[in-house]
Symmetry: C2
DNA sequence: GGCACCGCTTGATCTGGATCAACGGGGGGG
DNA sequence: CCCCCCCGTTGATCCAGATCAAGCGGTGCC
């Protein structure tokens, strides 16, 4: 098997100060058909980091300068959601547990088997695909919500609250006809063909919008 | 501080074959105001297990007979979602990672500090409160969905799909009037005052019901 | 400065379709 | 007998879409 992972700019990013291990990993992954980029330190990875990167990260825990764990934290602060696989020399249970609880895909000890690593890479990429798609959908909805004018947004909220056009007009102190105009524009901008779709849309975009 | 944790039948379940540690834990937790039940083996806990138990579990990993990990698996098979804290003598990173990935709250090594344990207990109970409340709401909705007749359910699905009464009547081969009757009954049974509420309800009850 | 253009908001009329509410009825099965 | 499913009428209400129009604020061009 080789070069079959179709995905676009997907890449496996390796950060480890041990050149031998880096080379070994690069070889393993490239020969499995992945695109790979290796860095010898957290700092050099951060320097090259782009929010648009996709794929997954393999981080050495212990490195001179910024550790893998610190890099992980830093990336989370930057809202980077790339899946992370930690590799470490000496096992440390609390550290491993903490990392996984914070969202790391796994935390494995050296030496590890090729098969294990490949399995984790696949798990990571799968995770990335899902969250990525999820975020994309939500982002699109949020974008559309952002396209609404203030008034349209107010009308939308009242629609979601289950109010009738008449009631909306009442609350906003405008005529029913105007509400209908706004409503129509909202439906158009949100790309919804029915009230049901509209509600589903908005609920996907923001979890906290209930009752009326 | 003592006896302040108001919750109803909440209880900390401890499963460990080491009597000394059991006693120590029971003392710590009880003096912190928690209700505690201790068991000396996975088997004895399973024998006493009731699906209605609430609170959290503290499991020793290594025990004669069924291990803590096996008990964990068994409980998950039984759809028990009690949060689980593992305690173990010798740290084993892969095992710890695996447990946490499968949903364990934490995996700590003996000896551990009282403060750490109490922190984890609180984290567990918090987790339990959330998931519990979540499941309760969903269960209520599912129950109501179950009260619907076959026909009402079909109509509901088409309503969610954004179909008009006319279209629904067409699809089901019945008259619009009949659809209206079903629709009204659905709204009544689901306790929804508007289409928006209905959609929110159903979406909360089952995540996979889109497009039409 | 003035004026035209654009977008947001507001409003109206009319037409036609959709929905609601409240009545009426019939047929079938446990 | 009750419940479920089916269907109808009437009148009121609601919603959608097209068309027309006006005030207001900002942008830009002359």
């Amino acid at each position: 098997m080789s070069t079959s992972h179709e995905e676009p700019d997907q890449c496996i990013y390796i950060v480890d100060d041990d050149e031998a291990l880096r080379d070994s990993l690069v070889w393993l992954l490239e020969s499995s058909g992945y695109r790979v980029c290796a860095y010898d330190s957290s700092e050099s990875f951060l320097a090259a980091y782009q929010p648009r990167m996709t794929g997954c990260l393999v981080l050495d825990v212990r490195m001179p300068g910024m550790s893998g764990l610190e890099l992980f934290e830093e990336l989370r602060l930057r809202h980077c959601s790339l899946p992370v696989i930690f590799i470490t020399g000496h096992g440390d249970v609390p550290m491993a547990v903490s990392a996984v609880k914070r969202g790391a895909v796994d935390f494995i000890e050296k030496p590890f088997g090729d098969r294990d690593m490949l399995g984790l890479i696949e798990e990571s990429l799968e995770r990335e695909r899902n969250s990525r798609q999820q975020r994309q959908v939500e982002a699109e909805i949020v974008r559309r919500l952002g396209d609404l004018t203030q008034r349209e947004r107010e009308v939308l909220d009242l629609i979601i609250a289950g109010k009738l056009n008449k009631q909306i007009a009442d609350v906003l102190g405008i005529s029913i006809k105007t509400v209908e105009v706004h409503r129509a524009r909202v439906m158009e901008k949100m790309g919804a063909n029915s009230l049901a779709e509209l509600v589903q849309c908005v609920m996907t975009g923001e979890p906290g919008a209930l009752r009326g």
